[in-house]
């Protein structure tokens, strides 16, 4: 791996995609530009192109996911790769050793790419580092979500969606709303938005669901949803992550909806042409009202479709940078 950014090879090309943090702006733009022609493949009679023919992509999901795993699987299959899905139970002890042993075994089966989802932050990085340290840099690692750390392809598909509807990042006000504390998606979104030059990124959340020092990432914090939504171009909702909650961070989901749920009445405070995004799966009636989720400003389903093109682009770029 390169000395500077562990994701880049010695030519400055993307060798792994682990996090958006620290990726240069031109690399992000290149990924978004590259994703555009891939979205056209879905319109064809044969929805398949031969770029990854003969390559094996292993989906290593140490944590459950339906949408992300499925879209990675579709993306790899549309690139003609062979896809092997492994849903691995995390309850076994000695995680670090098991993780690398698993990776070593799959590498011995001539894996070309690992798509890794793990409940522990840094797990994909650990695999990438291990592959590099053992002379197997040709095996690429894509982070499909690690702990509270990062979910770079989600961040990228969100940027692709914003660019699709708003064309230009340089005039936008974007609000990220909800459970930022537990959200790897929010971190990836914030890094992507600031790197791409969005002048105002707002974070709207109750104090108990905000990590300390979030302001240092270059965001404006609002503890009042109505105030925070005023005049924004893009509303990015986050899922309330009940499964990650320990202790009494919230009174109840009903109470949460009252203060932090996106209703038509609150959305009316944003710009009239504001778009509403959500990484899924949605908790209707908790963070988002059905009238908004199914309304004309929601671009939640296009996000899913764009996600396939973005993941195809990322996998094709990595595979081509051997």
């Amino acid at each position: 791996m390169g000395a500077g950014n562990p994701q880049l090879n010695k030519h400055g090309e993307l060798n792994h995609l682990l996090t958006i943090e620290g990726l240069p702006r031109d690399v992000l733009i290149r990924i978004l530009d590259t994703a555009a022609p891939f979205s056209e493949v879905a319109e064809r009679e044969v929805k398949k192109i031969p770029l990854l023919r003969g390559k094996s992509v292993f989906n290593l999901f140490f944590e459950n996911s339906t949408r992300t795993r499925t879209t990675f699987e579709i993306a790899a299959k549309r690139l003609s790769a062979d896809v092997i899905n492994l849903n691995i139970n995390t309850s076994s002890a000695n995680k670090g050793e098991t993780l690398l042993d698993t990776a070593d075994n799959l590498a011995a089966m001539h894996a070309d790419m690992f798509v890794v989802r793990h409940a522990s932050s840094g797990a994909p990085y650990l695999i990438a580092q291990h592959m590099g340290a053992t002379g197997r840099d040709h095996i690429h690692v894509v982070n499909a979500g690690d702990g509270r750390h990062a979910h770079p392809t989600q961040g990228l598909l969100d940027m692709y969606t914003i660019r699709h509807y708003k064309k230009d990042f340089s005039q936008l006000t974007v609000a990220i709303v909800g459970d930022v504390l537990h959200s790897r998606v929010a971190r990836s979104q914030i890094h992507a938005l600031t790197t791409l030059g969005v002048p105002e990124v707002r974070v709207i959340a109750p104090r108990t669901l905000l990590p300390t020092g979030i302001e240092r990432l270059g965001v404006r914090v609002f503890n009042d949803m109505r105030e925070g939504l005023r005049g924004v171009d893009v509303v990015m909702m986050l899922r309330l992550q009940n499964e990650r909650m320990q202790g009494a961070l919230l009174p109840s989901t009903q109470e949460y909806f009252k203060s932090w749920g996106l209703t038509p009445e609150k959305l009316a405070l944003a710009k009239p042409d504001a778009i509403v995004m959500h990484p899924g799966p949605m908790n209707r009636g908790v963070e988002i009202d059905s009238a908004v989720a199914d309304g004309g400003q929601a671009v939640i389903l296009p996000q899913v479709t764009f996600g396939i093109a973005v993941r195809m682009a990322v996998m094709a770029m990595l595979a081509g940078n051997s």
């Binding site: 590259t34 022609p37 493949v41 009679e45 044969v46 031969p50 094709a316 595979a319 081509g320 051997s322």
Partner: protein, 169 residues
């Protein structure tokens, strides 16, 4: 400096190519597909000169290139766009320069993912030799020989005029 052969006049070749194709196309049924970028410009000229009715397609064959494993994905890859039904159609692939034949192989593979054409032809402005695959043009008004160290590219001026340029690789 090796002596440069005179470069062909691209405008004259467009006219000659259209003339060569005229008796072999059905304006109501023949469709063109230009290969990015030069082939798209030539296809535009041919479409007008031959009075074709079906809108032309364009292809960027980057997803089908055989050098992906050596060179990776080309920067500035564009979407392919085929605005007609390929199934059962008479399609003519259009490019500016025919060289190794690898681009045409990629284009044929890509086109077949849109459907099975009834007939497929190839029209190019010039054949510069150096073929590495068994591919021959159906329509080609000019041929020339260039060393492998040189690249022949079509350029379009602001006024739309087409011309050839030779570059050292």
């Amino acid at each position: 400096m090796p002596k440069q052969p005179p470069l062909p006049d691209a405008e004259a070749l467009c006219a000659a190519l259209a003339a060569a194709m005229r008796g072999h196309v059905d304006p109501a049924a023949t469709a063109l597909v230009g290969i990015h970028t030069g082939g798209v410009w030539v296809a535009e000229r041919l479409h007008a000169a031959l009075g074709l009715k079906i809108p032309s397609g364009s292809m960027d064959v980057s997803f089908y290139r055989d050098d992906f494993n050596q060179r990776g994905l080309h920067a500035n890859t564009r979407a392919s766009h085929i605005p007609f039904d390929v199934e059962g159609a008479h399609v003519i692939i259009v490019d500016d320069v025919l060289y190794t034949g690898r681009t045409i192989r990629a284009a044929m593979n890509e086109l077949f993912d849109f459907g099975r054409p009834a007939r497929l032809d190839l029209a190019v402005l010039t054949d510069r030799g150096g073929r590495e695959l068994p591919i021959a043009p159906t329509f080609c008004p000019h041929s020339m020989s260039l060393p492998a160290s040189q690249m022949l590219a079509l350029e379009r001026a602001a006024d739309g005029g087409l011309s050839f340029r030779v570059m050292e690789k």
